[in-house]
């Protein structure tokens, strides 16, 4: 059977949803998997919802969007109702801890609150890289990609300090123990 991974990332515009999806895809591509990323913008691109769907497979990808997500990453809660058809009992939801009061329990049992933003802020003094923390965390959950492959993917995007910052953020996510 073909291996297929489906990740759904929801957030607000500006939270780095698309970039996170792209890097996830690129890391898998370096393993010679097929990858597809699609994005849904709101009519207004700003402020509104941003959703990235990343599908990775070792064989051909036909349906380019997520059918049943392996992982859902949530930086904002608003888009989750719309994502419900893409979840099932196996879906792991990784939500920023700021969403604790949003009644996310309704979406499933494999729900984990992770302090993406707090870690980024506290440890790297940059809440902007919370998406990279989340990327690390997703990679950890999926378990297909080695740290070298992520590093490679990041290197193709970022240079110098920016690379270091982002890589550090990914590592935080990758190495996070359940807390």
């Amino acid at each position: 059977m073909a291996m297929r991974r489906e990740v759904y990332i929801v957030g607000s515009g500006g939270q780095g949803v698309v970039l996170m999806g792209a890097l996830l895809a690129e890391a898998y591509a370096l393993k010679n998997w097929n990858v597809v990323q699609t994005v849904v913008y709101d009519a207004a691109q700003r402020g509104g919802l941003a959703r990235a769907e990343v599908v990775m497979s070792d064989s051909e990808i036909y349906y380019p969007k997520v059918r049943k997500a392996d992982v859902i990453v949530a930086f904002a809660a608003d888009a989750l109702p719309g994502a419900r058809p893409k979840m099932d009992e196996h879906t792991v939801i990784l939500a920023d801890e700021s969403l604790k009061d949003k009644n996310l329990e309704q979406y499933g049992t494999k729900l984990l609150f992770v302090p993406f933003e707090r870690w980024a802020k506290e440890e790297l003094h940059s809440s902007r890289v919370m998406n990279m923390v989340a990327l690390g965390r997703v990679l950890k959950t999926l378990g297909d990609v080695s740290i070298d492959e992520v590093e490679q993917a990041l290197k193709e995007r970022f240079k110098g300090d920016l690379f270091k910052l982002n890589m550090a953020a990914v590592k935080i996510g990758l190495e996070a123990s359940e807390f």
Binding site: D42, A43, A44, Q45, R46, G47
Partner: protein, 277 residues
């Protein structure tokens, strides 16, 4: 902050009436933090209030773009038309109903890019429509491409090497086409924006108010002013009060009322003379 339950409080909102002009249930609006369109819209409805107009006496027409979304928030008879076509739609409305106050709010691309021909012909006809051109000097809605009003040399997603073309002067164009009221203002001075829009709304003929506005998200970000505060500062420092858009002063942009001609008859009214015949 006011505590509404405080028995002592006898504070009342200083400008509550404009709220009758807002579709509050649709807020927050879609515009980015610090985008000038909201400020301009505030000034427009402030004037509606001042003029004592009724909600259903105002037809508010927009095209497509960030600016185009304004019609959704105004509690009037509103039309969100297609890109560039607000003015001919407004012309049809005004011709049919000269008793309505017809106001069009246009983006720079919407108004003088794709809509340029309608703009000059609305001016030529002197149709009784107030055209407020929100000139953020960029295509905001589509993600920051160059617009006809983007200054030469400026960056955008489609001028990665800087804009090669000279830019269009909305006020000069309006004058050249025959508009009877023409003014330029900017969002760093909102009260003045309101004053001038107020005069334009009362003008019986085609009135153009070009409002220089900040798009921090694209124009600002690509051109070293990602913070709206920087953009307002820029407006203050790079404009001067003038009598004509031809006036020159150290490369700055002239601001002011450039024309206010009350003698040319308004078209929807003069057309009705044929009815008597």
């Amino acid at each position: 902050m006011v505590n509404e339950n405080d028995a002592e409080a006898s504070f009342v909102p200083m400008s509550s009436a404009p709220d009758k002009w807002l579709r509050k249930e649709h807020l927050p609006h879609i515009w980015c933090p610090g985008c000038g369109i909201g400020t301009i819209l505030r000034q427009v409805i402030e004037q509606f209030t001042k003029l004592g107009w009724k909600n259903d006496d105002v037809v508010f027409v927009t095209g497509i773009g960030c600016t185009g979304r304004a019609s959704g928030y105004v509690n009037a008879q509103t039309l969100h038309t297609i890109h560039g076509r607000a003015l001919p739609t407004a012309t049809g409305i005004k011709m049919a109903r000269p008793d309505m106050h017809v106001v069009a709010m246009l983006g720079d691309g919407d108004g003088v890019g794709i809509g340029g021909n309608h703009f000059i012909h609305a001016a030529k006809r002197n149709i009784g429509v107030t055209a407020i051109v929100v000139n953020n000097r960029i295509y905001g809605m589509t993600g920051g491409q160059v617009s006809p009003t983007t200054p030469q040399g400026s960056k955008s997603t489609t001028t990665p090497y800087g804009n090669v073309e000279p830019s269009m002067d909305v006020c000069k164009l309006a004058l050249g086409a025959g508009a009877t009221f023409v003014a330029r203002v900017h969002t760093a001075n909102p009260v003045y924006v309101g004053q001038i829009i107020g005069r334009a709304l009362q003008h019986d003929g085609f009135a153009v108010v070009e409002v220089l506005s900040q798009c921090p998200t694209y124009f600002g970000r690509f051109n070293g002013m990602p913070d709206p505060v920087q953009m307002l500062q820029w407006f203050k420092e790079n404009t001067f009060m003038a009598k004509s858009p031809e006036d020159e002063k150290e490369g700055k942009i002239p601001i002011g009322v450039f024309k206010d001609d009350k003698t040319t008859p308004e078209l929807s009214k003069s057309y009705r003379n044929l009815w008597e015949a």
